[in-house]
Symmetry: C2
Subunit: 293 residues, 2 copies
């Protein structure tokens, strides 16, 4: 890692920690972000500010992106002054945003035409995982390109896998989000039932959080719900984006996912009620309201 | 435990292992079951066969029941030749069936009138937990009575808690089942999406089974689904019973649980399709059919 130059586009909560870990491991970082102020913590640590994504790409052979929505991915990679405009032949573009599998394939094809390489590599593990370098990283693309990026992934994460060709990383992340969506419905309904039945919900989690009903969600987000802590580990608004992508993909594949569709509707309701900047456990408030609590 | 006499009514897969553990710890068991043949393994080990639940109760001060449906609980405890007909004053009746909270309260009140005691104590952990004595036991009733039964519970389980007054054990088990219901929908939809997207579902579980999407269900039942193993750890027909009780209780409490209602419908579909004797992971087959797979 020592002495290598890497490009980093997107310095939000996740991106800042991930880039910082690469810098701490000895990489020199060239950074860009829509809002410069949010890149300051990295610049203070020695990162070089660039005025555009294209400029970042001119400086390095390995460019990471982690931005908000698929439209942002499209802009910073494929758009005017985007990565593709500045990248030197042979460079690798690694998009770590949770985004559309179809867009990942399009980026891969565009890259190929320009003698560039692309890997889609969304992550799971939240702000804490990003900070501690313990993220799960689900990648799609070519094996030899993945192998070149792997040493960098190992700085950022622990549970790293190449899942298949371009888009496979995004598809895996969708499987992850689909699983969480219905699990969260189970968590809030289970706790609401417990409260209504007059039980102590913390004592209920003590018992049911260990056996066949156990999940990360009940033991972590369930505990936060009981404490009344709705601070975001992961924003409702971002989860709605992810579920929307999964539903679009499912529609494209002619696949019916009624549990996901139901969960999505309740999260849309959460947004309608003004909860979009709460953590995903904020869905509990929707169920409370729906039950007159 | 050594030398004490206990009564055991219900020698199915769970009951046989649980009673066997008490016998191995030194208790003398008086047993009854609707079908005598299924009590033979216990009788061979020295258990004393009784012709009725009432006769079991005549012999012991502590009588455990674990039968099928609430109607069975009603019959063996409150019915003709039931436990109440034979029990001596001061005896404790411990129903470990997953049953209705309201019935648990009724049994508690009836017991009180006859100078008997009652505890509801459904379990979680399946056939393996029963055999290994690692069950979760969720109890409802009076503390002093619970404390008298606790040494026996400790032979059968590991995660044991008194959750409140009569019915609180059943309510806790309902919270457990509500949590599992929607989690299972997440598991099957997540795996189905992965398969449709061309991913290797086992590799997907390797990645998503460790982080924020992790659950006992994905790591155990998800793996079995991938192997095509639909053998029952827990029968679909019994899960339908449990969800039905939870929905009835929710209705009584004026509580809407749309995720549970949706899951229940799919499990009813599983029954309609002839899958009631599969394990709960068999719901995957319903989703496959629904998607023409």
């Amino acid at each position: 890692m020592k002495g290598t130059s890497i490009g980093w586009i997107g310095t939000g909560v996740m991106g800042t920690s991930m880039c910082m870990n690469l810098m701490n491991a000895g990489s020199r970082a060239f950074v860009h972000n829509r809002t410069r102020a949010r890149a300051e913590p990295l610049i203070e640590k020695g990162a070089v500010w660039c005025e555009s994504a294209a400029e970042v790409a001119q400086h390095c052979g390995m460019i990471f992106t982690i931005v908000g929505y698929p439209s942002d991915v499209e802009q910073v990679i494929l758009g005017e002054k985007g990565v593709m405009q500045g990248a030197k032949p042979g460079s690798v573009i690694i998009d770590m945003t949770t985004s559309e599998p179809a867009l990942a394939k399009r980026i891969y094809e565009c890259a190929k035409q320009k003698r560039l390489h692309a890997i889609d590599a969304p992550v799971s593990g939240g702000d804490i995982g990003a900070r501690q370098g313990t993220l799960a990283i689900m990648a799609g693309g070519d094996r030899e390109v993945f192998d070149r990026v792997l040493p960098y992934f190992k700085i950022m994460g622990e549970n790293i896998a190449l899942m298949g060709g371009p888009g496979a990383g995004q598809h895996t992340k969708m499987s992850n989000q689909i699983l969480i969506a219905s699990t969260m419905i189970g968590v809030v309904e289970s706790l609401l039932y417990a409260v209504k039945a007059g039980l102590d919900p913390d004592e209920v989690i003590d018992v049911i959080g260990k056996g066949a009903a156990s999940s990360w969600s009940i033991n972590n987000l369930g505990r936060r719900i009981v404490k009344g802590d709705f601070e975001p580990g992961f924003f409702i608004k971002h989860f709605i984006k992810d579920m929307g992508i999964a539903l679009d993909e499912a529609k494209r594949m002619n696949l019916t996912l009624p549990g996901l569709a139901l969960a999505h509707q309740f999260y849309v309701s959460a947004k309608a009620l003004g909860y979009e900047n709460l953590g995903t456990q904020g869905i509990y408030k929707v169920f409370e309201r729906m039950n007159g609590l």
